[in-house]
């Protein structure tokens, strides 16, 4: 693991100077800010737009805190994960295709260090983003829906986090296996596509890691049980570990 701390410092400095930190904070701040106000004022907005009657029965007339969190889970599971993948996907593949790794690697920088640090920093950015969005959303919900609580909120957010980590863990292997500056996105994109299709197969659905994003909000109103998420969590966790190990092994013998 030669040069681990040197490369980690470089990654953090790069995230700071390339505005990656700032972009993550800004993007997830917006994602966190919009949920509670949207949930709270949607009936009024629709009323003002003159479509309130048409959508009667579809939109709850008196929104509750759960509506804000439902909006949050939906936003993060879609836009949030897409944003973090687009931001982190090229982190290793861009360096590989541009050739910036050649100088430190030929100085003895450990290849395992490169893969591990890239994954650590990607996870750090995702955790930071999710934390910002969760805290802001929690604050807004507290103000707009005072006194209302939801169950299993922390567990639901953790499951979202796990889904993000699972997809980010595919980035290093994708970057090693494929060529091109954006190649880090190929495997996460393909896996996402496969699991989206797999949602159509009822006998496989209980194992699908995408449930961690789609269904974790159901925990909050007791429409799902914690045990329902054990199998998808296991699939996500084991796949993440296996793909990371595969990336570590294959990058040790990758031509650059």
């Amino acid at each position: 693991m030669n040069g681990f701390s040197a490369f980690l410092s470089k990654e953090l400095l790069q995230a700071l100077r390339s505005m990656r930190f700032l972009i993550v904070v800004a993007a997830f701040l917006i994602l966190g800010l919009m949920n509670a106000p949207l949930a709270k004022f949607t009936p009024q907005i629709l009323e003002l737009a003159g479509v309130g009657e048409m959508l009667e029965g579809l939109i709850p007339p008196t929104p509750v805190a759960f509506d804000a969190w439902a909006q949050f889970f939906s936003n993060i599971a879609q836009m949030g994960i897409l944003a973090i993948l687009l931001l982190c996907g090229p982190m290793l593949s861009w360096e590989k295709s541009k050739g910036t790794l050649v100088l430190p690697l030929t100085k003895g920088l450990g290849r395992m260090s490169v893969v591990l640090i890239k994954f650590i920093v990607m996870t750090l950015l995702w955790t930071l983003g999710l934390l910002v969005a969760s805290l802001v959303s929690w604050g807004c919900t507290l103000v707009l829906f005072p006194g209302e609580t939801v169950e299993y909120l922390a567990l639901g957010i953790f499951l979202l986090w796990l889904l993000g980590v699972f997809l980010l863990a595919l980035v290093p292997l994708s970057s090693v296996l494929f060529r091109g500056s954006m190649s880090g996105l190929i495997l996460p994109g393909a896996v996402l596509f496969i699991f989206l299709i797999a949602l159509a197969f009822p006998n496989l659905i209980s194992w699908n890691p995408l449930l961690l994003g789609q269904n974790s909000v159901l925990l909050l109103i007791g429409a799902a049980e914690t045990g329902d998420f054990l199998a998808p969590s296991l699939v996500a966790g084991i796949t993440a570990i296996v793909t990371l190990v595969a990336a570590l092994i294959s990058f040790r013998k990758a031509a650059l």
């Binding site: 030669n2 701390s5 040197a6 400095l13 100088l103 100085k107 395992m112 040790r252 013998k253």
Partner: protein, 308 residues
């Protein structure tokens, strides 16, 4: 055993056999000019030496230690400057050198001392705190040499460090490499023969995947010296020169004679002995000599001879 030993290296890209049982050695303390035309396999060889590329056959040893493909412990022994070095452009030169020092496990005092010393060596003092993204190509090459030397490697490998530079940039890089030879062994690839003649003491000419000419540069030149004398004469017309050439060709010690404008190039068996006789002939014919020069073989001549 040389500091760098390349033994029977083979590499093929699809149908193209780039390296074909390539073997050569670089002795400690030498500046080795690795010569070859574009696409001859110089970069491929260097990438195999640095573990970045896998060879299909053969081995490479640095200081007796075998180079492995991928992560290789021999990389601690070398400094590498690729043909187009890519840096982290969000850093400045000082930060980049510090990063390289930390990667090699140096402590902060040594890093600070070394970075300051190398920045001065490559003449980047005025730009050391500027982000690398604003650097010219020449400045990047100079920083490239500095980063390659930060951990005092036993072998410095430079892949065409002067090829993409203007004459001034080229001259600066060659001056730096000349200074560097005091500290480390240098393997320097190029297709610019003048650069090799300026700083290298040993050469290897790569052609068709093999070394077709190699060894000490002076020894090669002396082995390939052809004993050619160039003469220019005063007051002789072109027609007179033709007549004289015919007469001189008939002499037993003249092996070959050609005219280049008003100059006469005479190949003899021995410059020392036959040169005297040639001069005697000219005196006898009452001809006035304007110049008499023994021609040294150039690397360019030798290179063109061996790759022809």
């Amino acid at each position: 055993m040389g500091l760098l030993v390349v033994d029977s290296l083979s590499k093929r890209f699809k149908d193209l056999q780039v390296l074909d049982q390539l073997s050569f050695e670089v002795e400690e303390g030498s500046v080795f000019g690795f010569i070859g035309k574009n696409g001859s396999g110089k970069t491929t060889t260097m990438k195999i030496i640095t573990g970045l590329l896998k060879a299909e056959g053969g081995q490479v040893y640095i200081k007796g230690r075998k180079v492995e493909f991928g992560e290789t412990p021999t990389n601690h022994l070398l400094g590498y400057l690729p043909d187009v070095p890519e840096f982290y452009s969000f850093m400045n030169a000082y930060e980049y050198l510090s990063f390289c020092g930390r990667v090699t496990g140096m402590n902060s005092t040594d890093i600070d001392r070394k970075a300051t010393e190398l920045i001065a060596l490559v003449g980047l003092q005025d730009s050391a705190k500027r982000r690398i993204r604003g650097y010219s190509r020449g400045m990047k090459q100079r920083l490239g040499i500095a980063q390659a030397l930060v951990h005092d490697p036993v072998l410095l490998i430079c892949d065409e460090p002067t090829s993409a530079l203007d004459p001034q940039g080229r001259s600066e890089i060659l001056a730096i490499l000349s200074q560097v030879r005091e500290r480390t062994t240098v393997l320097f690839s190029t297709h610019i023969l003048a650069d090799v003649e300026r700083i290298c003491d040993t050469v290897g000419v790569l052609n068709d995947g093999k070394i077709v000419l190699g060894g000490n540069l002076e020894r090669i030149k002396s082995t390939h010296r052809r004993d050619t004398i160039a003469l220019t004469l005063d007051g002789v017309s072109l027609a007179g020169l033709d007549t004289l050439a015919t007469e001189l060709r008939a002499l037993p010690f003249v092996e070959r004679l050609s005219l280049q404008g008003m100059a006469m190039l005479v190949d003899v068996k021995s410059v020392q002995e036959d040169g005297q006789q040639l001069l005697a002939q000219l005196v006898e014919k009452r001809l006035t000599l304007l110049s008499y020069q023994v021609i040294e073989p150039t690397l360019e001549n030798l290179y063109l001879d061996v790759i022809a």
